[in-house]
């Protein structure tokens, strides 16, 4: 009798909030029928720190360090986005050298973020070795960025009108050595992982997201591009010096876990291209705009800025009354939408695939919770 009930009834499995494969504090309430997921309910908010509330409590400048604490894996990209948003609203023009430096650092940060995802994702799937290689590569980037930013993770390197300090020789040498090294490594990754039959079996055709689904849930970034939709904010709404640089937007076809993996690997190659070109063209000149107020404040009005972070479209919606303190600052974070599609992807899959699908979305929970 008891056995019969166990087999036929659905039951709940609580995954997280401290499960190693949820990468941060995400809780998934899964309703299972045997090994099949019937329903998934993500529970978030465990690391809600109230960044948007903090924004209404301090000046535009004072909020700057907060930006690197939302998505701690691509802190520089957030830092960059916030500075661009405020600069556009205030009408500040950034010297070209500063903008090139920002792009070089931001793309290195994007690679570091993708590398961490790559290592952690394969670890989730039970492959230990790639993790060690990925962290070795990532360590190089952290050391290079540490040279100019002074930090390893929560960078606060951009300033309104420029960057905090100029690139030094150690940074330039580091990047020049790193580019060929990662190119060799990416080849290794393709041989080690991309053609690995165990990996293929675990990711091909799993967690398929259609382009319509992605649009419905406002999914962006590599997750969207894996479904074949050509949308990269760097191309769609060009900002900074990206229009001057030559790079491609890798696209997937099937929208499954494998394509999401593959798109990110190709993106690292493109980011290397961007860094290479930007270094080559790096103009001379000042790194801070002259005559920028210490605490600039946008004129009254509403402003929106879209940015391509490592995980998708980052949107900053600013409302100013012209005063020192923002009226409202909304952060449209990509992982928020990317997680909201998960219940749909998980319905009907096996529990073992839950980890493969969840990992393939590259979620950073503190970014969602803000």
């Amino acid at each position: 009798m008891l056995r019969k009930t166990l087999i036929h009834d659905t039951f709940y499995l609580n995954l997280g909030p401290q499960h190693p494969s949820t990468h941060g504090v995400l809780r998934l309430l899964l309703r299972l029928e045997g090994e099949r997921v019937v329903e998934c309910q993500p529970v978030i908010g465990y690391s809600h720190r109230g960044h948007e509330h903090m924004a209404q409590n301090r000046s535009w400048l004072q909020f700057l360090p907060n930006t690197s604490r939302m998505d701690y894996l691509s802190a520089l990209l957030y830092n960059h986005a916030y500075c661009l948003a405020v600069e556009r609203a205030c009408g500040i023009t950034v010297p070209p050298r500063a903008e090139y430096i920002r792009v070089i650092c931001a793309e290195l940060n994007r690679i570091a973020s993708h590398l961490l995802w790559f290592g952690a994702y394969l670890l989730d799937l039970g492959a230990f070795t790639p993790f060690l290689y990925a962290f070795d590569d990532r360590e190089d980037i952290l050391a290079i960025l540490g040279e100019v930013t002074g930090s390893r993770l929560t960078y606060c390197y951009c300033r309104f009108g420029g960057v905090a300090r100029d690139l030094n020789q150690a940074f330039l040498d580091g990047v020049r050595a790193f580019i060929p090294k990662l190119r060799r490594r990416l080849k290794d990754y393709h041989t080690l992982v991309s053609k690995n039959v165990i990996f293929l079996n675990r990711t091909k055709g799993i967690g398929v997201m259609s382009p319509e689904q992605a649009r419905d849930y406002a999914v962006t970034g590599p997750n969207l591009r894996a479904s074949g939709v050509n949308y990269d904010v760097r191309k769609a709404e060009p900002y900074s010096v990206y229009p001057e640089l030559d790079f491609e937007v890798p696209l997937g076809e099937h929208g499954d876990c494998y394509d999401r993996y593959y798109v990110r690997l190709l993106e690292m190659e493109q980011s290397l291209r961007i860094v290479e070109q930007a270094l080559e063209r790096l103009p001379s000149g000042p790194i801070r705009a002259a005559g920028v107020e210490q605490e600039p404040a946008p004129p009254p009005g509403a402003y929106h800025f879209a940015y391509e972070s490592a995980r998708g479209q980052l949107g900053i919606y600013l409302v100013s009354d012209g005063g020192r303190i923002p009226v409202r600052m909304k952060w449209r974070v990509p992982s928020f939408s990317n997680l909201s599609v998960l219940p749909e992807l998980l319905a009907g899959t096996l529990v073992a695939d839950t980890i493969a699908i969840l990992g393939s979305l590259d979620l950073v929970i503190p970014e969602i919770d803000r």
């Binding site: 978030i44 209404q56 301090r58 000046s59 948003a85 406002a218 769609a236 009005g301 929106h304 879209a306």
Partner: protein, 165 residues
């Protein structure tokens, strides 16, 4: 698609006239303000019609948020397209603690976005399938992004006063 086309489309389908804004300065092409008087009955439905139209025209719902202007709240809907830079933001005035129609039936993305707005501002979305707290604890009885909200120790964590010079 160009901003002018969307403008014509909205005028013919919904009878509303969005204002063209300077994209280079504010990051938005079209802004649609729905006045306060319409909110209770008309504009509510207008937002849903707008969302339906946006969906058919290939837009996606970037975000929904609200701004507290002390006298009233302003709900902001942001739509954009994958194909070209084209952003339409619609603003609807809502009373504090007031209602707005849910878009969850039109865009799946609206489900969580509206839950967050409810969480932070206390706007109730009529017709939402699961309007619960999203980021705050499920037993929270406050809406922290309202401007008259003051953090108290019982809200959790340490209360730090930032002295603003």
């Amino acid at each position: 698609m160009r901003p002018g086309q969307v403008k014509e489309l909205l005028a013919s389908a919904l009878g509303v006239e969005p204002r063209e804004t300077d994209y280079a300065a504010c990051g938005c092409h079209l802004r649609l303000e729905l006045a306060g008087a319409q909110v209770v009955d008309l504009a509510g439905a207008q937002v849903v019609d707008l969302a339906r139209l946006m969906k058919v025209e290939g837009f996606f719902l970037e975000f929904i948020t609200a701004v507290d202007f002390d006298t009233h709240l302003e709900l902001v809907y942001s739509f954009t397209r994958h194909q070209e830079p084209l952003r339409l933001q619609a603003a609807v005035q809502v009373e504090r603690g007031g209602f707005a129609p849910s878009l969850a039936g039109v865009f799946a993305a609206a489900d969580w976005q509206e839950r967050e707005v409810y969480d932070m501002f206390g706007i109730v979305f009529a017709g939402h399938p699961n309007l619960k707290r999203l980021l705050l604890p499920e037993d929270a009885d406050f809406h922290p992004l309202l401007r008259d909200f003051t953090p108290r120790p019982e809200h959790g964590g340490d209360v730090v006063n930032l002295e603003m010079g």
